[in-house]
């Protein structure tokens, strides 16, 4: 059984009289342990696809099986539970809570699954350590660099032992050197912890860190190929 199975996913937005088909019959399968980069122009539907994969958005038509579970008829709270247990998000703008320390930001997902306070703190510290931020636990986001903030966000995605990390342009706000650091972290997590990483990017040198590249255009998949390592 595949970890992620999309069958003829369609998403239609109505903008007044015009219907925009952001996704137009997307079918693909992603296995556990893959490292997939999704590429495409802006407006190609890649972000919409990520939102559907992340259970943040529901498709207009088609079927999305996550770990064998059909997500179509799940309630808001059931989707929230899936996001909490199976998915970790990394955003372009980091999306950390300001005025909240690094370790408390990382703790957040555990807060919503009812873990006791001490366990939350321990696991959050361990996650921060694994992304190389030991000693920065009590720093607030505005005291951290962009790369460090993104590492906090990655630690937050890791803390619940979610099998999938969804990263939407994770290096979009970072300089090249920092970007490479972040991508190497993803590669390491994918290799060492067998975490499935799916990332959206429009930069080919970022996509080159992945093992498989899916290209989107106008809501269709135009190519899907493995990356040849040099």
């Amino acid at each position: 059984m595949a970890l992620i199975e999309a069958q003829k996913l369609t998403k239609v937005y109505s903008l007044g009289d015009v219907d925009v088909r952001a996704l137009d019959g997307i079918s693909t399968v992603i296995e556990k342990g893959e490292f997939v980069a999704i590429m495409g122009q802006s407006g190609s539907g890649k972000s919409t696809f990520m939102n559907v994969l992340g259970c943040l958005d529901t498709p207009t038509d088609g079927q999305y099986l996550l770990d064998g579970v059909d997500t179509r008829h799940l309630s808001r709270d059931e989707l929230a539970e899936i996001r909490n247990k199976k998915l970790g998000f990394v955003f372009q703008g980091f999306n950390l809570l300001s005025r909240t320390s690094a370790v408390e930001n990382v703790e957040l997902p555990l807060l919503y699954d009812g873990s006791p306070a001490r366990e939350r703190r321990e696991r959050a510290r361990a996650a921060l350590k694994s992304v190389g931020l030991e000693g920065r636990e009590d720093h607030h986001p505005n005291q951290l660099s962009g790369g460090q903030q993104q590492r906090v966000a990655i630690a937050r995605a890791l803390v619940n032992d979610a099998p999938i990390i969804l990263a939407d342009e994770p290096t979009g706000n970072l300089d090249t050197k920092t970007s490479i650091g972040i991508m190497e972290l993803f590669v390491r997590l994918n290799k060492e912890s067998n975490i499935t990483v799916i990332l959206v990017t429009h930069e080919s040198d970022i996509a080159a860190f992945s093992k498989r590249i899916i290209r989107f255009s106008d809501g269709h998949i135009v190519s899907d190929e493995a990356v040849k390592k040099i």
Binding site: A80, R83, K85, N95, D113
Partner: protein, 409 residues
Amino acid sequence: MINIPSTFKISFRALRVNKMRSALTMLGIIIGVGAVIAMVAVGTGASRQIEAQISSMGSNLLIILPGATTSGGVRMGAGTQPTLSMGDAEAILKECPAVADVAPIHNGVGQVVYGHMNWSTGIVGTTPGVINVREWEFTAGRAFTQQDVKSATKVALLGQTVVDNLFGEQNPVGQSIRIKNVPFTVIGVLAKKGQSAQGQDQDDTILIPVTTAQKKLFGTQFPGMVRIIMVKAKSADNLASAEKQINELLRQRHHIGQKQDSDFTVRNLTQIMQAAEQSTKVMTMLLGAIASVSLLVGGIGIMNIMLVSVTERTREIGIRMAIGAKTWDIRLQFIIEALTLSLIGGIMGIIIGVSTSVILSNLSGWPTIVSPVSILLAFGFSGFIGIFFGFYPAYKASLLNPIDALRYE
């Protein structure tokens, strides 16, 4: 599963971030709760004072005053003509079923001497019925008896003020005093009643048998006549029927024709006092209601700030939803925030309300009573306001679409 302690922590942090705003929002609740408590304390104090006066006067009390003399067409006012007799008093007790007890009163003022001390006070000649009618208690000794009345014994019951002025710390029971140079034996001391509704010192009095007063002290042109008759009805419900029965009986005894005016007046003091008490209670409720309006306004203030807070933190809500916060996690976060605001405001309001009451009663001398019930009520009500006015913003927050919330700038 919802994690309440952590949710509280999140709420406290959010409130601490905007200290000024939180404080101003709380101010509405503080003023509201404080006003309710202080106003209700003033009202309760006033009605409690009236209640105390009613019970010191003796409950269910009727007073019968004699009629007016008419000399040469000039009417002289109630009490100028002695029309009430001891016989009237006895007949009222015997024949009016709604009456519990009577006390005919023949009184005057006299100089009282004990040893080298002397004092001028009101001397009330009456019957043992007065103890029941005026609801006197004793701190020492006993009341005089019907036998004392019959044989015009020279015995006296002293009010506390008289005891203080003549005896100081000494026990007066058994001592001999002279009233207008007539020697009396003190057989009892009356318990303190305090001021009457009219501001008179009710303890500045001496009770003696009515016959003694008539024969030995004041004399009278009209033997067997008394100044007034006090009547105690069997219960508050019986007051009106007692009044009616007394009117009928006395008109008949005094041979008053159908079209003639009565030569006496029955006054229902208790009723008058109860009307005053009732109006004080209405005033209390009115004050409380007006103060509640400010509490309501405070609640709306909380709702306003919570709505602003939800809008400001749309992105935070989106992040929380994305990483697994469920509908009630989000709702509780904002409800608890509103609840925290209103409860802290409520506690501070209670402190301010109680101290305002204390200051008011010290400055103006108004009696104020802060009842625990009003504190509990104010606290519960402010909690309710927090939940009530916090719910809509919380509900709004929980319905946000996670993607839209995440994209919100």
